[in-house]
Amino acid sequence: MTELGAIAWALRRDLTLAMRRRGDILNVLGFFVLACSMFPLAIGPQREWLQRIGPGVIWVAALLSVMLALPRLFEHDHADGTLDAMVASGRPLWALVAGKLIAAWLVTALPLLALTPALALAFNLPTSTLPVLVGSLLLGTPVLIGIGAITGALALGLKSGPVLMTLLCLPLYVPVLVFGAGAVEAQAAGLSPLAHLALLGAGMLAVLLLAPLVAALALRISVE
């Protein structure tokens, strides 16, 4: 099995598992939609206010939704012994982790992206900001998942793992949130969102390169 084979193995496995546990996907999506749609109801139909807070609310809700799904990334595999089997198989662990991360993005982040235009309508966001909003999420969600994978791998098997993971994640998520929501705000204010998007893109490239390697290292420590 080559590196590509290992990525494909983990990707196919996790996608099949996700299809068997559709409730988990719906849970995340439901949370995202509910969190977003509560704000217009609570604040009232003032168009300017909704437009003002819309991008931020959608970004925060997406971030929290991803965090909701992430603890499960390695936890099940750790509990049922399949993680041990992956490490003991002698296959490149970073490739197996990369496959899992791609699957996690397809299963958690992609449906959020698909729903974002509908939610943008609820906030009355001008259609010109929509591509920037979706684009910023497209660049930002891989970073969220990559960082979450590293912290999740580190906190794996600890009694207070989920709490530790949240504490480790949040400060690292702040820049993503600032640049992601900032890109949309810049667009809405008639400025260029490119600077924000470029920073997000740089973060995404760094995470794509580093997250599988670092998470694999952390997993080796966690299975000890």
Binding site: M1, T2, W9, R13, T16, L17, R20, R21, H76, A79, D80, G81, T82, D84, A85, M86, V87, A88, S89, G90, R91, V223, E224
Partner: protein, 241 residues
């Protein structure tokens, strides 16, 4: 395995030698100065009371748990070997079942066999079904694994080894309590698989409380409590009384 690397077959397995292994978990020393050697067609049976480090030794050989001291050597040339390098030559079954409850028996086996470097040709399906048949799970092949009993899950693990006999290049089998929850016919399957593996020149290290008598090969015993540090050894003796 990296592309281009030659697959290591059973034929090229020249044995394994472990020299003065020591393992420390937390503040406890499980064993020190543990040495053993394993030649082709040999089965090493790990014995010792609960907590004497049988599972940890198996995990340490694969690099899942770090060794405090010691060195592994492989092959006729007695080359030093990193535990992680052993992973590519070994087939490991831990005490967790390593199967996904939501997937069916055949799906779980397909995933495991692919990870083990199992069959990938046109006859893959037949090999998998033959393996399930051999371990007595043919009728359960489309049943979700979570509906299987403990013994049936153990048999599913054995199916991996049945496939490895046909296809995978994994000359060293490491099994952690493979006989747990197995009934008499399951034990017979286990012994038959081990017998065929030893007969073709493979080797195995098996942690088990039940006596295993494969039809072929040599069975040797390794008592881990003999390598426990003195204080622990006294405690274990007290427990045994």
């Amino acid at each position: 395995m990296s592309p281009g690397a030659t697959p290591i077959g059973v034929e090229s397995f020249g044995g394994l030698r472990a020299s003065s292994l020591a393992l420390i978990r937390g503040e406890r020393t499980l064993f020190t100065d543990l040495s053993f050697s394993l030649a082709r067609s040999e089965l090493l049976r790990l014995l010792g009371p609960n907590g004497s480090g049988k599972s940890s030794l198996l995990r340490a050989l694969l690099g899942l748990t770090p060794l405090a001291r010691g060195q592994l050597f492989a092959g006729p040339a007695d080359q030093p070997l990193l535990p992680r390098e052993l992973c590519e030559r070994a087939l490991y079954q831990g005490h967790a079942h390593g199967a996904k409850g939501e997937l069916t028996t055949i799906e779980n086996l397909t995933l495991a066999a692919t990870l083990d470097g199992g069959p990938s040709g046109d006859d893959t399906r037949q090999i998998l079904e033959a393996a399930l048949d051999e371990v007595g799970l043919a009728r359960q092949r489309h049943i979700e694994t979570r509906r299987l009993s403990q013994g049936q899950k153990q048999r599913l693990n054995l199916a991996r080894f049945a496939i490895a006999l046909r296809a995978a290049d994994r000359p060293l089998w490491l099994m952690d309590e493979p006989s747990a929850a197995l009934d008499a016919s399951g034990l017979a399957v286990l012994e038959a698989l081990l017998g065929r593996h030893l007969a073709r020149g493979g080797a195995a290290i098996v942690a088990t409380h039940l006596p295993i008598a494969p039809h072929q090969g040599v069975v040797r015993e390794l008592h881990l409590d003999a390598f426990a540090p003195r204080r622990v050894r006294e405690g274990l003796a007290e427990l045994a009384q």
